[in-house]
Symmetry: C2
Subunit: 436 residues, 2 copies
């Protein structure tokens, strides 16, 4: 006998079993519905691109997280590690075919060879949406609205979108005698929620000096209403700050659309990434603060400067489907996903196979998911199959019913049976039972 | 200024622009709907797997079509080139968690480094569905039913599923003194529709001898009703042939469910792949015979023998989304895909931004896709944007309407305007205009 190959997957990669896959499809469909209602349209890009495109000219020293290799034609290629870089390349390539502002969403797999010890996966689905080609409060605010509606569409009511402005933070730093916020400073403040004030102050002191570290902490400390935070910000930045005016305008929209409950101005939101230049936001679930943000993003001045001289300002946000799925699981908010059809048409007589398929077809026309048990096995085996799969209803049509064409329907949970039904009556009864 | 990187994609890889991506999503949703109605459930598997898994132990001499490389951990890995091999590995890994028969569908990208000169792509979406764990006429027939419903769900009425049986063909070959059908013979007959009888006879002669070549051609020559073909087959195979009995049973189901128009017994269908052992089928579009089969598959004895000693017979079929999409395009059967929202809320006064977003939110609640133009630009610019994007309706709400809260709705095609509407009335009017 040939040797068996162990059916293993790579570490950090997972199969998606039906129960999970149905939920993923459901979540993606609901989010796509929200995006489409807002005028966003879907795109896709290749999973594999030139490494130069994904990593930039400076990508010579391979980022260890990126799956990069030489293809058959000795081309230096890589798997995409996010959806932002391919989108930038996409915009540069197609800007002349598109109407600006362009609103797109993209739900797709990305790959990162991350350390799997922290429970990270190497293949996961990201859901990004962006508005490109305009720098306006309306677009910033719409991103917030979409994030908010996305949460609601998934049944999440207790959440808060924390909002700040990168340029405003830079103005504050300049005001206390520091240069523009640089990566290390941003990433330190980014850890405030996780590590607490004391530790962050100790980390900031060598970067900014002890006094300035305290000033920074005073500035980013959360608390107060959005209006109070705006007033505090106003004292820390120059008069006529466009960044402050932008936040005020967004806050006005928040009030006029009744979103105060879900939007919180929070100067501690800095986002680690360097490319943000305007508003930045993160979304926290009230009941699961520990998992961090489930939907984050911000405004950038120039999406595609690596690939085109055309300036493409934009704003967008990104949802990690896997983290969101596990959060919804923890919150018991997952939509009911039955990985089974509604009705099992039992196979009582092999010679009636054609009739079984005709009956199943009629049930489907009535909107019921129906399958035919494929072999005339013992009834107990067929009913056991229905039970194990979670099929709620069984339809009986045997030798006795051959002449009449009638059938019997049984609810497998209640054991209730409905005898002598036409197929149409069986369909109606099934629909009624499933609704109740 | 930094040097610009040309925003190119790899040869054989394509961006999917919104118009195309919307259609792909629509087609996949319709097909998923059919699969779910039949009790099939979705799964997913990693894009990247151990090369040993995808290529088998004998995969040492790399198949040139497979994207294969060493990852960071020096593991020999590859991108999946179809959905069948990963499904086999999946079944071996999870058979104990699943209820048999297991019916799955899988819609996902696969990668092949094919020669792009013949218009082939190196990244494409496959749509597979299979019933595993049972060898029964009912499962064979259900595959045919699903293929048929899939075509109808996409608006295709003029199509035919050509059906044959690999084992029956082997029996015929044995009868004329040849061994079991081997790859080259199968692949030669597979080309009959494309190359015609004369060429195939010339190719078969050196493989089987001149006389047998003629006998083979007589056997596989299409023509006649399904019953006539069954009778012709009966003469060519031993009495009591289970393969013939299976085809007869399927034909009975075809008749009893009224599918004669769409199912044609055709002994020339052999399928090139070695692993088929039972029924095999291909689907042709009446009006586009030249593009070949848009949905093909068959029965295999043992899906996962490389990875498990458990026997897993199955039957399934595969749809190439890209070929199907281009066929639907040629047939002008594509569903209307408007890559634009229904209503553009014009931005007439910057100070009314909150109101615009509130109005857009109300329109969305009524089921309308609505977006707010993000800046108070000249009206002509905003209307030009609506026109270029194909947004059919524009909503006006300016200084004059601030106090009343009313708005005006304009159909951009007919120039018809509806003035002084409440937002609710505007939503109702918009829905009515879109329906008409």
């Amino acid at each position: 006998m040939a040797e068996i190959i162990e059916p293993r997957t790579l570490r950090g990669f997972r199969d998606s079993l039906p129960q999970t896959e149905i939920l993923k499809e459901e979540i993606q469909q609901r989010l796509a519905g929200i995006f489409r209602l807002h005028g966003f349209v879907p795109i896709d890009t290749p999973a594999l691109e030139y490494a130069e495109i994904l990593l930039g000219k400076g990508g010579g020293e391979t980022d260890k997280q990126v799956y990069r290799f030489l293809d058959h034609g000795q081309r230096d290629v890589a798997l995409r590690f996010d959806l932002t870089v391919p989108f930038a390349r996409f915009m540069a390539a197609h800007v002349n075919e598109l109407v600006l502002p362009f609103k797109r969403y993209h739900m797709a797999k990305v790959w990162r060879g991350e350390n799997t010890q922290r429970g990270r996966y190497r293949e996961f689905i990201q859901i990004d949406f962006d508005i490109v080609g305009v720098d306006a409060a309306s677009a910033d605010f719409e991103t917030v609205v979409v994030m908010q509606e996305a949460m609601r569409a998934l049944g999440v009511q207790a959440f808060c979108i924390h909002l700040s402005h990168r340029e405003l933070f830079n103005q504050f730093l300049t005001g206390i005698g520091l240069g523009e916020a640089y990566g290390e400073l941003l990433r330190t403040i980014d850890k405030l929620k996780k590590l607490g004030e004391e530790k962050i102050e100790a980390m900031l002191a060598p970067l900014a000096g002890a006094e300035r570290a305290r000033k920074i902490l005073d500035f980013v400390r959360p608390g107060g209403s959005n209006q109070e935070t705006l007033d505090r910000m106003a004292e820390a930045v120059p008069r006529g700050s466009a960044a402050l005016a932008r936040l005020r305008e967004i806050q006005r929209c928040v009030e006029e659309t009744g979103l105060e409950r879900h939007v919180h101005l929070d100067p501690s939101i800095t986002r680690g990434l360097d490319y943000y230049t305007g508003v930045v936001f993160e979304t926290f679930l009230d009941e699961l603060p520990g998992i961090g943000s489930v939907c984050s993003g911000g405004r950038y001045n120039n999406l595609a400067s690596l690939y085109t001289r055309e300036e493409l300002p934009g704003v967008g946000s990104s949802i990690g489907l896997d983290r969101l799925l596990s959060a919804l699981e923890d919150l018991k908010l997952l939509p009911g996903a039955r990985a089974a059809p509604d009705v099992l048409v039992l196979c009582l007589e092999e010679s009636l196979l054609g009739s079984y398929h005709r009956i199943a077809g009629r049930l489907r026309q009535a909107g019921l998911a129906a399958e035919v048990y494929p072999l005339p096995r013992k009834l107990a085996i067929q009913l056991k199959y229905a039970e194990r799969r979670g099929i709620p209803l069984a339809l009986f049509h045997g030798e006795a019913e051959r002449a009449s064409g009638l059938c019997n329907l049984r609810s497998l949970a209640s054991r209730e049976t409905f005898d002598g039904l036409t197929v149409q009556a069986a369909a109606d009864t099934a629909l009624r039972l499933l609704r109740s």
